[in-house]
Symmetry: C2
Subunit: 297 residues, 2 copies
């Protein structure tokens, strides 16, 4: 298969489902809140987390459709965390994916509430949708527990605090790995594994997918740090060199350019290795790891 075509086909499949979800006259959501939520949800992006969630179901022999509500929930919380990250009291960013950020368009208080609403509606979307799809309750509970853990104080929120709290920064390499794990890796790993759990993954298969997710999740952040130094501004669609300007601790600063490249390659190989027992079914995830290593945006 042509991997790039396959990948864009899968993102497009998710994108269509997301658009339908956003356009539904959903329940009693105040109109302005719905508008602010949809603005950021539909602002594009790689849709990596939903693609991973669907791939998790497929590698266990289930159809991608069956986990769409969970995939949507992952994109919702990822979007929510970006809206809150961009707020004036946080990174104070006015552009994201080439568009004005949520608070620039809707004001600070509505942006804050749109983020909260996306975080919380994600759980309802997953729960209601999975029940409708006839998902097994025990699997739902396990998938949601993994989802929740990736978001809270041990996950995204905790990582964000660690990243801005210079006091807790001791050894530079440990610190860079800790922040990348909490801010980026856990959600990427949870996306894949929640999809897999919903499709019945357990025991050895789940352990291997957790390891794959861990390696690919860290590799994703290493590649991001490398691209911030060496990438093409037009391909990335954002201002580069920001990490250095803000004196941020990155994999490049902790390991050097060559060291970071070597670490990225090692994580990628290790991720691919986890897929061996899956045979042909692991093909997409294998190609994805290789693709993410060499991505230019």
């Amino acid at each position: 298969m042509d991997f790039k075509e396959e990948l864009s086909c899968r993102s497009a499949f998710f994108e269509r489902s997301l658009r339908t979800f956003c356009e539904e006259e959903r329940r009693r959501i105040p109109a302005r809140l719905r508008e602010a939520m949809n603005y950021s949800l539909l602002a594009g992006g790689k849709r990596l987390r939903p693609v991973l969630c669907m791939a998790g179901a497929e590698i266990m022999g289930e159809k991608a459709e069956s986990v769409l509500p969970m995939a949507t929930a992952f994109e919702m919380v990822h979007t929510a965390s970006l809206i809150h990250d961009d707020l004036p009291c946080m990174d104070n960013d006015s552009l994201r994916r080439g568009k004005p950020t949520n608070h620039v368009v809707y004001g600070e208080s509505l942006a804050l509430l749109a983020g909260d609403a996306l975080f919380l509606d994600a759980f309802e979307t997953a729960l209601a949708g999975l029940l409708k799809n006839g998902a097994e309750p025990q699997r739902c509970v396990r998938a949601l527990a993994l989802f929740a853990q990736a978001l809270g104080p041990e996950g995204i929120c905790g990582g964000q605090v660690l990243d801005t709290d210079r006091a807790s920064q001791t050894d530079e390499r440990d610190f860079v790995v800790d922040v990348a794990s909490m801010k980026t890796m856990v959600l990427i790993r949870a996306s894949l594994c929640a999809g897999a759990i919903l499709a019945g993954a357990d025991g050895e298969a789940l352990r291997r997918l957790m390891k794959y997710g861990e390696k690919v999740g860290l590799a994703f952040q290493i590649a991001d740090d490398l691209l911030d130094c060496t990438g093409s501004q037009s391909a990335m669609g954002k201002t580069l060199g920001k990490d250095e300007a803000q004196d941020k601790r990155t994999f490049v600063r902790a390991y050097g350019l060559d060291g970071a490249r070597a670490l990225l390659h090692e994580k990628t190989l290790n991720a691919e290795k986890q897929l061996e027992p899956f045979g042909e079914k692991g093909e997409f995830l294998r190609a994805l790891a290789a693709y993410l290593e060499h991505r230019s945006n």
Copy 2:
């Protein structure tokens, strides 16, 4: 039973459990984030939502202990919503329950993240704790769906937007009921009913408890609006007359003082009526409705 003693006994039981929960060396939460979360969680309050959640389990014949993780989750999200409400870009309040608000002590960005972390950790706390207690997965999923719905764009977050969006305010009475329903009632109702669902409530029993929760939830807000006009500042522990000064639409403004009092009494009677089939087991909730009607703080 002496109801006031019974109520304070139940809040104290929850308070002890919450303190243990906060003091546990919980997982890998960054120290400063844990501190900011605990500061607001342990700042007191009536603990009404956890008390209702436990009462929901008891009226169905289960022990309060069995739903403690769910009760804790309700208090966590209630606290999270207060932290976000107090932020400078929202109500910009510097005092809450006689103490400096979270952002005054920890700064705006940490307060934002502490709110996010409490919202999200609530789901993990409920999921992990209930599974440990051996809760039935099907019941967990139903209780969590109700919980999530009370929080998102149809619940607290949506109500907050509606309340600040003058454009969507048409008929004053409808509007006051809509905002009170989304901002206050749904979470109070969900607290009671999630506890009941976890203890096996279904069909007619659940329908009656949903109605009780709806009536008591609205009564709670009507009493709040009345107290803002006629209450004692020292008993309430906050500045009164704020609603009028801010030109807020309240039950008092929409119905007049006497009209609001009559509506409060009607809701309370209607709530009590729902409990008839529960006989003696409904005694605590019956006394609670009467107590909330006549509360002075």
